[in-house]
Amino acid sequence: MSEPPGAAVSLAEAPPADEPPKPLTAQRVLPLRRPWRWIATAVVLVLAVQFVHGLATNPFYQWDRFGYWFLRPTILDGLLITLEVAAYSAVLGLLGGILLALARLSKSPVLRAVSWTYVWALRSIPLIVVLLFLYNFSALYRTLSVGVPFGPAFFSFDESKLATDMVVAVIGLSLNEAAYAAEVVRGGILSVDQGQHEAASALGLPKSYQFRRIVFPQALRSITPNYVNQLIGLIKSTSLVFYVSLLDLFGSAQTMGSTYPGDIVPLLLVVTVWYLILTSVVSVIQFYVERYYARGATRSLPPTPIQRLRTGLTDLRARIRREAAV
């Protein structure tokens, strides 16, 4: 035998030479049919319609009473308190968070330890406990003084006059918010490339400029989505200020509910819808803030919702036309 055995085997497996495979004409590939996807879509759609129908027609929800309460001055006053508390706490919490994050990233072990301990403690204690502690603070420390530590005081304040319910609520929420914001800000700062720090110091940019103009704006890109998440949590947490006798949105509804027990469900709906609106507004702001800080990070900016809707519709139309053609 002149040929090795392997060659004989491969020859036998080769297609017969006289019957070449039919060449494929250039044609579109038929997309795979996915019946289960269509069935699942239909089921979810039916359930969704059923839910909305129930929401609209179940007399239990008392939509007429909802309409009565939705724009009542008591509710709107409560909403204002909610907004006020949330806005102050968001700003103070973020500032506190930035300071804590800088302390945590500092080279001083004492600053690092203090920052770590603060975050550890405030994340461990339930917010309601913090608020109630502060509410009773004036009983613990009757006066607050500014002066030399352990030495003479320059000014003294009567604590019970200084700490209104609003101040207690804002301080409590800010203390809590700062602990979470610290971690968000720290993560953002760490996400900035080391080369940016090096380039900034190689150019001799002053330290504060490096942080304000080079590092922090880049950190904001990753801080924004995380901090907005925090912010939404904060807006809902403001409902706890009811327990330090502040009548926020939830508090007002709660009070009205005990006066008009038959309206509890529509009042809860009022509160729900208002919180939905607040969260939606924050989400819209988030989108544009993120878009602003994406400058330079991507080659082109992400599309706005309207732009996306437009391209989405064009794509859908094209797809329907294609499916119809097949």
């Binding site: 150019l203 001799g204 400029y209 880049q218 330079g296």
Partner: protein, 265 residues
């Protein structure tokens, strides 16, 4: 050794860069082991060496991005990062070190442009932040410098919209905006696609011929031969030999230099 002929023995003007017996180590790892180097004003010095030889560290010691454990560096007669106090060297304040750095240009391998600022703002930022120029003058200077590196059309672009070669040219313009006495280049073409290397080297060559003092760490031997006044070969944290390119690259005295050149040429 060829080193001797280059010592500025009679020159009274201060050296542009003087590295004086610099030692640098990370833990037990000696990165620089007693380096002495003098760069005269207007001179173009190319530092060559195998990877891990300490050449980038040497460059970063010059503008105090790395602190030497022993020894010091002077730039235009001014000690960098330290001052003399009696018999000892004392570390300068951070503010003072930043002020010194603003007089030394540094160009990174990875450009390190500020991605959130336009090309124009990248170049104009430092003169404004360091208080040298008002904003309008800084912008004017930035436009002029970008024109000089051939990017006059790209002032409004963001760095990530540019090619690597264009980004590195912006980085050079950014370094020039502070009118530094010395510019340090840390492998300026190593992160570039081969076809983009030429445009960056052309800009550096232009600076070299205009009399700016340059210290360049690079692997571009041909470029070194063409523009360098002096080539320094470094290995194991020590300067092995130095001299004019035709000597160090043409007839290297040292076995390690010959070995390195045979691998890269």
């Amino acid at each position: 050794m060829s080193t001797k002929t280059l010592e500025p023995s009679t020159d009274i003007t201060p050296a542009a860069v003087e590295v004086h017996d610099v030692h640098k180590w990370y833990g037990a790892n000696r990165v620089l082991d007693g380096v002495d180097l003098t760069v005269r004003p207007g001179e173009v010095t190319v530092i060559l060496g195998p990877s891990g030889s300490g050449k980038s560290t040497l460059l970063r010691v010059i503008n105090h991005l790395e602190k030497p454990e022993i020894g010091y560096v002077s730039v235009n007669g001014e000690r960098i990062g330290v001052k003399r106090q009696g018999e000892r060297l004392k570390e300068l304040s951070e503010r003072a070190i930043l002020a010194q750095r603003s007089r030394i240009g540094f160009v990174f391998q990875n450009f390190n442009l500020f991605p959130h600022l336009t090309v124009l703002d990248n170049v104009a930022a430092a003169p404004v932040a360091t208080g040298r120029l008002a904003k309008p003058e800084a912008l004017e200077l930035a436009r002029e410098l970008l024109g000089r590196v051939g990017l006059g059309e790209k002032t409004g672009a963001y760095p990530r919209q540019l090619s690597g070669g264009q980004q590195q040219r912006v980085a050079i313009a950014r370094a020039l905006a502070l009118r530094p006495g010395v510019i340090l280049f840390d492998e300026p073409t190593s992160a570039l696609d081969p076809e983009l290397v030429g445009e960056v080297l052309a800009v550096i060559k232009d600076l070299a011929t205009s009399g700016t003092t340059l210290v360049i760490v690079t692997h571009e031997i041909g470029f070194a031969r063409e523009v360098a006044d002096r080539v320094v070969f470094i290995d194991g944290g020590k300067i092995v030999e130095q001299g004019p390119p035709h000597e160090v690259l043409g007839k290297p005295q040292h076995e390690r230099t010959r070995d390195f050149l045979s691998k890269v040429l």
